[in-house]
């Protein structure tokens, strides 16, 4: 391995070292605050390392990894999400019975898994990254182990994830059988040489799709999502909704781009069907949901359906649209979960919609942030969500994917209905049920509020001047070629 290759891997090594540092801190009996602050600084260090190595990109570390603009972009998004999740976690775990310190080790390990996915160009790193991501998640989901839902959600996730991993391996094996390689580029070459799409490859891809669909919570592999979102601690749920999905989507996108799967009609039919089903059932399931965390789970099913519409064309616009949409989605969902986390009293999470009745009259700041987040999810103009949806629709229309486009447009109206339902609840008149005293250091409240303000401003900023972000995304993607 050359020096430059090592350089390119620097951010990932820092990320791996971060968990070791946390373990050492625990060994030396440091408190939650020290760990939290160190973790925050370490994540900043990762971002700094990414900036530091930008000159040597792209680097291929044969045969498994490639650190390019695409990978850097997704890794950056992932680390940003972890920064925010980590910040919110402090208050959440301070108020709970469980010792929070190991939580940070698992979060960083899981993040490393997601980051490895973004730079994978080989089945082996794909699989190891995915496993690293999910094994840490099992424990994270069940972290508050004395609570019923947590253990249940953890076990459910474990059983289903293990099953889908088996499917993933089987799919990889079938593709390996067909092409004799596990390297994306070589697979693409061999398939091209064969000149036609073979049944074996398609079977393999279909089977792999089970695992990808499971991780992204796409219909029909979505059934775990609501249970797990509800059962997991809120910061972990937001982690699953952002980091885990971004990582898996990145590797899936790279795989499909590398293989030019957009030219394969059978694959496209499969993906369109999954997208349409996800948009429809995600939105309809959310329609009468009374639990905010479950509702966000269903809404994220629908949103990944939208995302797949951007994915269909496989051209530059599509990739840009997908990255942009993911960014907007991640910011929005983090803001929404941030509110849930900050409002949750110690005994349970603030997930029942009735707890939000009249929130505006008691905590206008939180209510406004949540409202903005919901409007962005609904895709109202001047928020990031609108531009994301617009961009996705553009990508879809360019490809003449009319059916998914029309389904997208129609389901987003249905979506508006349940987002408005929450907003109405927030503004309704009622004695407020969430009462929470601030027992902790004021600094962390200020920091969390500041994070929420930043997220909200980002939502508007991206909504009003999306060209800046789009330009940035383009610049990163150019490093690829």
């Amino acid at each position: 391995m050359t020096e430059q290759q090592l350089m390119a891997l620097l951010p990932f090594m820092v990320l791996a070292a971060a968990s070791i540092v946390i373990i050492l801190l625990i060994a030396f009996r440091q408190g939650h605050t020290v760990i939290q602050v160190t973790g925050f600084l370490l994540m900043c260090l990762v971002i700094f390392a990414m900036w530091y190595v930008r000159g040597v990109l792209p680097q291929t570390i044969a045969p498994l990894l490639i650190v390019d603009g695409f990978g850097a972009l997704f890794t950056g998004l992932i680390v940003f999400c972890v920064l925010v999740v980590g910040l919110f976690s402090y208050i959440y775990f301070e108020e709970r019975e469980e010792n929070p310190r190991e939580y940070y080790i698992l979060i960083f390990l899981s993040t490393l898994g997601a980051a490895i996915l973004t730079i994978s160009r080989h089945f082996m790193s794909f699989f190891i990254g995915l496993e690293l991501l999910s094994i840490s998640l099992y424990a994270l989901i069940a972290y508050l182990r004395t609570r019923n839902n947590a253990i249940e959600a953890g076990i459910k996730y474990l059983v289903l994830a293990a099953l889908t991993s088996a499917f993933l391996l089987f799919g990889m094996a079938l593709i390996y059988m067909e092409t004799g390689s596990m390297d994306f580029a070589v697979i693409a070459q061999r398939l091209n040489a064969a000149g036609k799409s073979s049944a074996l490859f398609l079977t393999g891809f279909g089977v792999m799709m089970v695992a990808v669909g499971f991780k992204l919570a796409l219909v029909p592999f979505h059934l775990w999502a609501a249970d797990v979102y509800q059962g997991a601690p809120s910061p972990v749920a937001s982690f699953i909704a952002t980091v885990s999905k971004v990582g898996v989507f990145a590797v899936f996108l790279r795989f499909c781009q590398e293989l030019h799967l957009q030219n394969n009609s059978a694959v496209m039919m499969l993906i369109s069907a999954v997208a349409i089903l996800s948009m429809i059932s995600g939105n309809i399931l959310a329609l009468r949901q009374q639990n905010l965390k479950r509702l966000l789970a269903y809404s994220s099913i629908a949103h990944f359906g939208y995302l797949l519409v951007a994915f269909l064309p496989g051209n530059n616009t599509g990739v840009e649209a997908a990255v942009f949409y993911l960014t907007a989605y991640a910011i929005t969902i983090l803001a929404a979960f941030g509110i849930i986390i900050l409002l949750s009293p110690g005994e349970k999470d603030a997930d029942s919609l009735s707890m939000y009745r009249g929130l505006f009259w008691d905590k206008p700041f939180m209510a406004i942030v949540l409202t903005v987040a919901l409007l962005s999810l609904a895709g109202i103009p001047l928020t990031a969500g609108f531009i994301g949806k617009f961009y996705v629709l553009t990508a879809g229309v360019e490809q003449r994917a009319w059916l998914p486009v029309i389904v997208l447009v129609i389901t987003s109206v249905i979506g508006l209905y349940y987002y408005l339902r929450i907003i109405s609840t927030i503004f309704a008149d009622s004695p407020v049920t969430i009462q929470k005293e601030r027992s902790l250091n004021q600094f962390f409240y200020t920091a969390s509020y500041a994070a929420l303000v930043v997220l909200t401003l980002l939502l508007f900023g991206i909504g009003v001047m999306p060209a800046v972000i789009i330009q940035g995304i383009k610049q990163f993607l150019v490093i690829d070629r």
């Binding site: 019923n148 839902n149 253990i151 249940e152 076990i155 459910k156 059983v159 289903l160 099953l163 889908t164 398609l202 279909g206 089977v207 089970v210 592999f221 059934l223 775990w224 249970d227 009609s265 059978a266 039919m269 499969l270 069907a273 059932s281 309809i284 399931l285 329609l287 009468r288 949901q289 051209n315 616009t317 505006f360 409007l375 109202i380 103009p381 001047l382 609108f386 617009f390 961009y391 629709l393 553009t394 229309v397 360019e398 003449r400 009319w402 486009v405 447009v409 129609i410 109206v413 508006l416 209905y417 408005l420 109405s424 503004f427 309704a428 008149d429 999306p466 060209a467 789009i470 330009q471």
Partner: protein, 636 residues
Amino acid sequence: MSKLVYLVPLFPLLGFLINGLFRKSLSKGLIGVIGSGAILASFIVSLVLFFDVKSAGAALPVEPLFTFINTASFKIDFAFQVDQLSSLFLLIITGVGFLIHLYSTAYMHEETEAHFGRYFAYLNLFVFSMLLLVLGANYVIMFIGWEGVGLCSYLLIGYWFKNSEYNYAATKAFVMNRIGDLGFLLAIFWLLSKLGAVSFVEVFTHLDKLTPGDITAITVLLFVGAMGKSAQIPLYTWLPDAMAGPTPVSALIHAATMVTAGIYMVARSNALYSLSEVAQHLVTIIGLATALFSATIALRQNDIKKVLAYSTVSQLGYMFIGLGVGAYTGAVFHVMTHAFFKALLFLGAGSVIHAMHHEQDIRKMGGLRKYLPTTHWTFLAGCIAIAGIPPLSGFFSKDEILAAAYAKNPVYWGLGVAGAALTAFYMFRLYATTFLGNFRGTHEQEHHLHESPAAMTWPLIILAVLSIIAGFVGVPEVLGGGHMLRSFLAPVLVTEHHPEIEHSTEYMLMGVSVALAAIAIIIAINKFSKKPQLEEPAGFGKVLADKWYVDELYDAIIVKPLNAFAGFLKNVVEKSGIDGIVNGVGRFVQYSARQLRLLQSGQVGSYILFMVLSMVVFFLVYWNQAMITHFFQKIF
């Protein structure tokens, strides 16, 4: 000079930010001054712009603010366009908007500071969005304003959020609007995919690249958007419900400005519409149907604001008739006069409601003439204007539309005149029941009856004067006028078609419509001033009073099935999920046993079964792929 235009939306935006952020620390007086002052400032700038456009005789050059979206295949600027059409709308929005803001400072005085601030913040945000809508130089910016006004309308209808019924009305309005917006959005994408451009200038200069099929599809989709926003059949039911908001809001948003956005959009796209016969016929027929249908409903409503709401729907129908038959100037003219007299009527109604302590049922009013003299006289002016009696403004604008309709097809004219007679009838039924006869409320109410404060009456007087004289900007040639409005708008409405009607015919048409309106007025006053309709309607009257049961119909065919479907999914998919397990778990005391129960309860099993089944379906589909792709190719 061109930079000046940015000030127009900037002032309301600043007003929104100041009132929104500091609403708790500012006094009510200051909030009112900031809120109204922002709009006044915009109005003054708009006046300057208007005269610039007028003297230049062409659109002002405006630099794009910044690049909004830039992709490989197209570029959308955040740019404004100031031409004859938009500058006229600017004047209407900021002018009427300012009067309504002023009126609101008195009308909303009972609210607490924070709510007062919130109200003005929303109102300013609304004006900002509306200005964005009319100033946008391309369909995307227009769409942003379009959704923005929808959002503000939602916020303002639900201003008294504490009442859940109002909340429902607000949600209904937003969702119905959003259905229309789908059409708009699809039209934008259609344009993007065919032309790679959405700015008005580029689209209208490259019309030859579009096939007739494309144009028809685009115009019909745009019209679907207009139907939602301008409350046309079948998407009109939200507007009467929207009256749940404070009365000045109804005046500004649901009568004078927002609902005319659809008219603006179609007039703006006149180059497109004139190329599609189908779309023009559709617009005319929908407009006619709406005009007549809602006029019949207005006949038997007893809520003062509901009558005005249905009248608004009906008048919007007239504007669409104008657009459909190619009388774009007439439609824009009617937008202007309607903004004056409908704002006047709503504010007058607000004054009545204010005096009656939030009583809106006209059966409990009567004889208010002597208690509220200013309100009475101004209201009367509004009624005459809307009824189309010369020389008040409504006559000229409505007549221009009807004349164009006659030139297209006399049947259109006949139905239009019938609607006009109905309009005169229900407006004077409203007037007579409210202001004539004897007072029918309680003594308590009678004791408190008083004229509204000056901040409320002055806007009424100004609007009344405007309603009376505004018609003179568009006096048709047959009556010896030069029709200033038409020559002003001519550069924008390039495709307008001026029908040649013989002068004698035109005199006859005017005579018939005025005579019918006059007869309707006399009947209504005779019938209702002495003996108002107090009893519950029966028979056909009840069908009208219940609005032809359209709401019930929508509920039965759309809302209920969707809810039932969601409920089914919830019960089947969810009931057996978490709930079942948690309940079952309670019985197991031992930890280990509980673990196993969770693992083996069959739930995870059923999830897996579902996944495997869907894979089986996929492979089945794959096997028969050739057949299915063929099937899909046939459909698309």
